[in-house]
């Protein structure tokens, strides 16, 4: 009986996957359930959690605060709704900019001679190997008032005899956008390249033979066939941008607060894990909803696996 069990394929498979399941259930699914439970709880005076059932954290998140400055029982303050909205808008802006920058480069690499493709691709990956935090720091050095970019602009203005006052670029929404685009650009290049590389040369030749110009070939052949790469890249960029808090922390200062910063502060400075958990769940639901509708419209990019 025992021998039979040990030899059964089903048992062997289950055995092999057990360590993975322990980690996935114990450190992903249970924590997510715990986060959900805590989000309905109440904050204790020492920053702990009182397990009750209240929707207070969620009503606070959508703007109905129970502790108002004017002493009223409830008042509307769209602070957190604005933060959520800003994060969503920034994630869309970043994704679109990243696609616009990544596409021509991926196209160039995919159409380059085969022996040079790996080198070009390797050159995309090198910046990625410097640490995420270090890359944000590099932009801090470039964008600050006495930084590299103002130095270069000043020198140009000087040479052209134009009066120049250093621009305030650091700690603006623009700085955060540039930082986000820089951080996640390689994640878009790889999947788009993978899908572009698969397009057979004969398709371009056929399009040309049939009289399509470059413009038409691109929109009727290249773009549709590379959509799986764009979709995969979008998922790889959009989801992390929604939750990142270092870029806005370092390049946005206190000016640009995203949902990631909000969550981080609830757990560390404000010591309100119940509100932080609610915000975190809302963030997760937002990304899942956007990803779901996006992949349903365009199909799930298989390139996500290769990237």
């Amino acid at each position: 009986m025992l021998r039979k069990l040990r030899e059964s394929k089903s048992f062997q498979g289950t055995l092999l996957v057990t360590p993975t399941l322990i980690f996935m259930v114990g450190l992903l699914i249970i924590p997510l359930i715990l986060t959900a439970i805590i989000s309905f709880g109440q904050r204790s005076s020492d920053g702990g959690v009182i397990y009750t059932f209240t929707l207070e954290n969620y009503t606070r998140l959508v703007g109905f605060s129970t502790s108002c400055d004017n002493g009223a029982a409830s008042c509307f303050d769209p602070l957190y709704v604005n933060i959520l909205w800003r994060s969503l808008v920034l994630a869309f802006q970043t994704t679109i900019l990243v696609i616009l920058l990544a596409y021509p480069l991926s196209y160039f690499i995919a159409r380059a001679p085969a022996k040079r493709r790996n080198t070009f691709l390797f050159m995309v990956l090198v910046p990625l190997w410097t640490n995420f935090v270090i890359r944000v720091y590099a932009w801090m050095m470039i964008l600050r008032t006495q930084g590299v970019l103002n130095g270069v602009l000043g020198a140009i203005a000087n040479a052209l005899n134009i009066p120049f006052a250093p621009l305030e670029m650091l700690y603006t929404p623009g700085a955060v956008l540039v930082g986000m685009v820089y951080e996640f650009l390689p994640f878009m290049i790889l999947p788009i390249f993978t899908s572009l590389e698969k397009i057979d040369n004969s398709l371009y030749e056929a399009a040309a033979d049939l009289g399509a110009n470059t413009f038409r070939t691109f929109f009727r052949v290249t773009l549709p066939l590379s959509m799986p790469g764009v979709v995969a890249g979008t998922i790889l960029v959009f989801i992390p941008v929604m939750g990142t808090f270092i870029v806005s922390d370092i390049l946005g200062g206190r000016q640009v607060i995203l949902v990631g910063n909000l969550i981080q502060r609830q757990f560390l400075d404000a010591r309100d894990p119940t509100f932080g958990s609610a915000a975190s769940l809302v963030l997760m639901v937002m990304t899942l909803v956007v990803t779901y509708f996006y992949t349903r419209k365009f199909g799930l990019g298989e390139e996500i696996i290769i990237a």
Partner: protein, 295 residues
């Protein structure tokens, strides 16, 4: 006919994007040789060798000459500790995640069992939820669990459970396993099972077949999975940020802490060393892989 030649816009964009990718790296490396201690403006290189001498916040002379900040880095105990933590975490979590993920890939590709669909779904979770959600979830789990255990078992002093290297390693294993499983599974999918059948026909048992046939053929996939896990662990900031405790600071966490205080060119020197080490490691690995392909 090369289509690139017909589209000058593509070429211009390509050059611009490469410039955009590399300009920050160039700035980062250049400033690690800055003589200015505040490191806001590039004041020039340190040209004189000799005892360290500071004039108006500028290092004009150093025993290491232009490499002043690299020498300072070597003397910095916090940096060395953080580097040791980073590597310890990366090695332990990579080895564990590679074994666990490879086993899962074998199970999912080769076997049918009741929990298969559930396992596949579970492995997608870390890819589709933002890292911060995972980070605070794990933090909540550990803090609630440790709170409970410390009180229930009356643990005091050194025995008290707290966040540290252990919690960081466990979290890193968690986010690495799905990526290893994906990579190894992709390798297994394009795999000719007739070699294994031949080995079995020739009298090898399952274990021998696995060691002598399956594993060697799987090795490139396992290695690239391991490399991915190692890179993910080295680069991770968010999960580590929420799960580390006193004494388990990693380099990214250390650098983040510095960015909110005073930054000297030491941070740039650290970045330069980091880039060089990773670059060398990857080149070495590529060279090894090429050699394997040729032989």
């Amino acid at each position: 006919m090369n289509p690139n030649r017909r589209a000058p816009l593509v070429l211009v964009m390509t050059v611009l994007v490469y410039f955009f990718l590399y300009a920050p790296i160039f700035v980062l490396v250049t400033y690690s040789f800055n003589s200015s201690k505040t490191n806001i403006v590039f004041e020039g290189f340190i040209t004189q060798f000799g005892d360290a001498k500071l004039v108006d916040g500028n290092v004009v002379q150093s025993p290491c000459g232009p490499f002043h900040w690299f020498c300072e880095l070597g003397k910095n105990k916090e940096v060395m500790n953080a580097a040791r933590n980073t590597l310890t975490i990366a090695f332990i979590s990579t080895i564990s995640a590679t074994i666990i993920g490879t086993l899962a890939a074998l199970a999912l590709q080769r076997y049918n069992f009741r929990l298969k669909a559930f396992s596949e779904l579970a492995l997608y979770i870390p890819i589709v939820i933002p890292e911060i959600v995972m980070g605070i979830g794990i933090l909540t789990l550990f803090s609630q669990l440790f709170n409970y255990l410390n009180t229930a078992l009356n643990l005091t002093g050194n025995l008290r459970l707290a966040l540290g290297l252990g919690t960081v390693i466990i979290s890193h294993i968690t986010f690495s396993v799905p990526f290893v499983a994906l990579v190894v599974r992709a390798r297994l999918a394009g795999f000719d099972q007739s070699f294994e059948e031949a080995a079995m026909d020739l009298g090898a048992n399952e274990l021998v077949t696995f060691w002598r046939v399956t594993l060697p053929m799987l090795l490139p996939g396992v290695l690239s999975g391991a490399l991915m896990a190692f890179t993910l662990s080295l680069d991770d900031f968010v999960i580590t940020f929420f799960t580390n405790g006193p004494g388990s600071t990693t380099l990214p966490i250390y650098v983040y802490g510095l960015l909110r205080r005073i930054i000297t060119p030491q941070v740039n020197a650290l970045s330069t060393v980091w880039i060089l080490v990773v670059f060398t490691a990857v080149l070495l690995l590529q060279w090894l892989q090429n050699r394997e392909v040729k032989s």
